[in-house]
Symmetry: C2
Subunit: 398 residues, 2 copies
């Protein structure tokens, strides 16, 4: 198959930052892309060969879009799966497959899948409704504390809550959910697996999510993880197994816990490029985005090793600021060696909105970690205050 500078068309469902970083690679290879996204201001509007505005959950929109391309992939899981099934039945190559998406879109089914395939994961129980879970808790069939997770559409920590008493249920949605055992863990790890239709499979090194000691928010993604080699090898082996069991094509990001006794438990997966792999753009021989393109087009996979240590810091909107974005002190972080900001191109910031990320690359991981902290403390994603007269007043030190 001739993908390069040809009539071949790759379709991408979703036009956000992950799509934008995929487009860097399709442009590099001169592979034509069509992108579908609900927002007219999507980051992929520039850089795609054709951009379509439309609802990713609408059957006909997704189906009609799929009929125009030769291979279909996605950068977000929340898409109409029935449309993908129909397209697959009509012989379109869809990666990840509709079957994988069905499993992943429902956290209960995802957990059942791990259990059925002997993949280590935290104990859990499934409930059709929140009321059923409450009843079970009342009857002591579920022991507190535990972790409530919405089965559908959890994203970036939404749809997850620790339940310590009956009061914790307040405000939770009524829908299908799971109750998961709380796991005391040393580290949260992730491994990205790439697999192509021919079955060639490779894992990236294990990365470590370092949390803020108080805020319980991921602050840094660090590659390689600062863990024992034996634990790292086990994490990569388990991630490989997960990808193989899903018969997955493309990237699969496998998030895991390293328990106090060095067991590895799979938490959840994402069937696409992932925040935990952004470091790879600068630090790896093959970035995760190039690798995803290679995998879904059944090209040989690239080297997943690193050229240097890499640390990623997310740039999220600061609290108290909404409106036209300004990256305060960005010039100062550009002056630090090995620092690369990625600005996603969203014009409006909101508290905690993912607006970009910064990668720090250094021969020495400890040096990279120091610079990462400086970056984290220096740059701030704020908005331009509007003066009452309608003019724009710039904050200090832009």
């Amino acid at each position: 198959m001739n993908y390069f500078s040809s009539d071949f068309k790759l379709g991408i469902l979703g036009g956000g930052q992950l799509g934008k970083m995929l487009l860097t690679e399709t442009r590099k290879f001169d592979i034509q892309t069509y992108v579908l996204d609900p927002s007219d201001e999507a980051p992929c509007k520039t850089g795609s060969n054709r951009f379509f505005k439309g609802d990713l959950m609408d059957h006909d929109t997704v189906y009609d879009f799929g009929k125009q391309v030769d291979v279909l992939t996605l950068e977000i899981e929340h898409v109409n799966v029935e449309a993908l099934e129909k397209l697959e039945n009509e012989e379109l190559k869809v990666y990840p497959s509709a079957a994988t998406l069905r499993l992943i879109q429902n956290k209960g089914k995802q957990k059942d899948f791990y259990k059925a395939n002997n993949i280590p994961t935290a104990d859990y129980q499934r409930f059709a409704t929140l009321s059923d879970l409450k009843q079970a808790a009342e009857n002591n069939e579920v022991a507190m504390p535990f972790v409530w997770k919405s089965s559908q559409f959890g994203y970036d920590g939404n749809g997850v809550k620790v339940i310590r008493s009956a009061e914790s249920f307040n405000g939770l949605p009524e829908g299908e959910c799971i109750a998961e055992a709380m796991i005391p863990f040393k580290n949260e790890l992730a491994v990205i697996v790439a697999r192509n239709p021919s079955g060639e499979i490779k894992t990236y090194p294990v990365v470590e999510m370092e949390f803020h000691p108080e805020a319980n928010q991921v602050e840094y993604v660090i590659c390689p993880a600062r863990i024992d080699e034996a634990v790292a090898a086990k994490a990569r082996r388990i991630a490989l197994e997960v990808s193989e069991k899903f018969n997955h094509v493309g990237l699969l990001a496998v998030e895991m816990f390293q328990t106090e006794d060095d067991e590895i438990l799979v938490n959840e997966v994402a069937p696409r490029p992932h925040n935990s792999g952004h470091y790879s753009i600068e630090a790896s021989y093959t970035s995760q985005f190039e690798q995803h393109i290679r995998a879904i087009l059944n090209l040989p996979l690239g080297n997943t090793a690193s050229k240097a240590a890499g640390i990623m810091v997310n740039l999220v909107g600061a609290e108290g600021y909404s409106g036209n974005v300004v990256y305060q002190n960005i010039e100062s972080i550009l002056g630090k060696s090995g620092v690369t900001p990625h600005i996603y191109g969203k014009k409006q910031t909101r508290p905690f909105r993912k607006m970009g990320h910064v990668t720090i690359v250094h021969e020495d991981i400890n040096e990279a970690r120091k610079v990462a902290e400086e970056v984290k403390e220096t740059i701030k994603v704020i908005s331009i205050p509007q003066t009452p007269g309608g003019g724009i007043q710039k904050p200090d030190n832009i």
Copy 2:
């Protein structure tokens, strides 16, 4: 100044492959770009925020384009300099400056500039016409063999010829030219210098152009050059000096000869990202394209050191093929570790047309050199033969 996700507009004259690789960086930083190029099929048509079709040598076209942007740069030197002068007089920031372009566009003036500034360069004489040069040769005022160079618009080896006898003049254009002493050299080297308006200045490591032993064509650009450290230090020092004397802003690629007695002679310069710096996308902490953007926007310059050894192989159209391009055996080169093809997005190949390049990155430069040779011998830029019936017949082993 706020460049990121703002209303700021960067203008780029020229929309070829160098522009396309600049756009990778402007997209990463979400800096708005306007691009002007004469071809409706220019590689920059996708990826720029606005694309304008127009003649780069036409005064009004360039001037009108420049009036729409906040900073103006270029990816090709052959542009209307009078328009740039007018824009500068109206306070537009133009990098490289019109004055630098005037010097560089004329090889005679460029050589005079080196001489006036005590920058080592091969001896030369200037002639207003080819007839004047012929006369001088006849009178033995110029000793054969020497190198004839057209003063204007030489590009990629065009406009250069070794004159060994009166017959060598046949077919040369009549215009202004220089006669340059032939320098027996060990190596052809290049150093890219970045300088911003604040005067911050950095050099990239010295690269070496390795020539095919018979065809006298550059086959590999190798970073770092396999030369003595003292010679490398001298080459970087001289390149710095050239950039400072030009008071240059942006990138300046300085091409040099290393003579048999390890003297460094400046051959010529290019005031923009350059073929000799393509390796930097994968091998350097800061790619030359990101560095150019940083420099012209007066941002801090990035680290110019390398993460690994890098070798670049140009992908040029094979002889005997014209038409819709096919990259034969590209899948096979993707299977080699550390290999990244860049496909420029030109739909039509022609013999010797620059269609792309391949970078090979490896910890060990000797390993990288071996893989580079495999790449060179494997991939072939050909065209799809048209069958008489109008259908398309694919060549073997695509």
